[in-house]
């Protein structure tokens, strides 16, 4: 186990050398990821690890990739997608143009899920999906729209539970153990590196999704990220978080109204 002092030291050095600020990350989670990385890469001492991070930018890149969690699924929590499909998208349909931001999109499964729903709602022609992540590596995967074929059974079940009525396999072509999603979806997506800690708002959106990203932040950084989303949301736009996340007790809470008991909030002020 990496102790608190060591973590502080690492955070300071990383900030000094590379400009990445991890001081607002949840200590329990950040500490666990660092300990695991050190174990996997066979470091005997924290000092060795620190010196490698400091002296080798390539290794620092690996560190960023490994400490950011990149577990994601298509139509994860189908009930959530069902609400988007039946309530939120029909409301956004009245707008001339729909901008959506997936903040912390990881390898993009959620972005392709959204694209499929937009197409099924006949909204694709006037929608644009912005997908950002701190980790440039995962964005490369997301851009390709290629996911392991073995996951498709589960994704297809999720899709059906979310209210999808089409043949899910019609959305991709299977080849050598991979499923490549149709390029007409990718054409509607813009991928960019964005750090919720240090980067600013870059557009105005009608819907922002940031699911299971804030859990890795401490309260203060969560509040910072929520304010960034608030600045980036159009009036009457929606913010969607993960099933165990909330804007409760945050500084933006009073400007938002929760949709039923779902993790979706509407900006009302």
């Amino acid at each position: 186990m990496t102790d608190e002092r060591e973590l502080d030291l690492l955070i300071n050095e990383v900030y000094e050398y590379y400009g990445y600020d991890f001081s607002g990350y949840s200590q329990a989670s950040f500490g666990r990821r660092i300990s695991r990385l050190m174990e996997v890469d066979g470091f005997k001492s924290f000092a060795d690890f620190l010196s490698k991070v400091r002296s080798e930018p390539e290794y620092f890149k690996r560190m960023v990739e490994e400490i950011t969690v990149n577990v994601t699924e298509m139509f994860r929590d189908p009930a959530f997608y069902r609400v988007l499909r039946t309530t939120i998208l029909p409301e956004l349909a009245t707008k001339p143009f729909i901008r959506i931001w997936h903040a912390g999109c990881s390898t993009g499964e959620e972005v392709y899920s959204m694209a499929i729903m937009l197409e099924e709602a006949n909204l694709m022609h006037k929608a644009l999906l912005y997908a950002t992540d701190i980790n440039p590596q995962v964005l490369e995967t997301a851009k390709k729209g290629i996911f392991p074929l073995r996951m498709m059974k589960e994704y297809s079940e999720n899709y059906v539970h979310s209210g999808g009525k089409n043949d899910f396999s019609g959305y991709y072509t299977a080849n050598y153990g991979f499923a490549k999603f149709n390029e007409r979806f990718t054409e509607k997506m813009v991928f960019a590196q964005h750090n919720l800690v240090s980067d600013r708002s870059f557009n105005e959106f009608d819907l922002i999704l940031c699911r299971n990203v804030l859990i890795y932040f401490d309260k203060q950084l969560q509040d910072h990220a929520l304010s960034l989303f608030d600045e980036s949301l159009a009036n009457l736009g929606y913010l969607a978080l993960g099933t165990k996340e909330s804007i409760k007790f945050s500084s933006i809470q009073k400007k938002y109204q929760q949709h039923d008991r779902d993790k979706i909030w509407k900006k009302i002020k």
Binding site: S26, Q27, V71, I215
Partner: protein, 189 residues
Amino acid sequence: MEENQVKKLVLIGGSAGSLEVLMHVLPELSTGLAFPIVIVLHRKHSDDLTLEELIAMKTLVPVKEVEDKTVMTNGAIYIVPSDYHLLFEKDGTLALDASEKVNYSRPSIDVVFESAADAFGPSVIAILLSGSNADGAFGCSRIKENGGTIIIQDPKSAGMSYMPSSAIQMVEPDMVVDMDEIASVINRI
């Protein structure tokens, strides 16, 4: 505030066969316990509400919903939500984590136990119940290393003996108990 500060922490982990044990233990728990109880069970994604309701029905101890950054209070039960790992901050805040499964499980008992050992050291009392995989064994040894207490359900009395046996092979438990003894052990902590 002061009296609500978490100084001691009881963990209960289990898998197949452990729900029956809990149904037996929960009704006998005293209210007003001087520590929180965190329960981590393997189960299918999406059974969250049913499990919480089931547990809440069986005990007078308040069962609190775990959301990200929930602050634990003494005398309450917390159930680790499905499809998340649970970690502890040193100030008694719960942090959720959606990273890779550990021992094919999310939540993983090892993750909960190891994190508790790191955050609360000797103040952790962990109880490992019936189950059919080895999740929890490493966590028990980490708790032991950090000075905590390990109580394991007697494999002979467990519906599935593999989980408690695996832990006993890895670490010497402070107590091996029958299902019937668990509640009184907790009440006496």
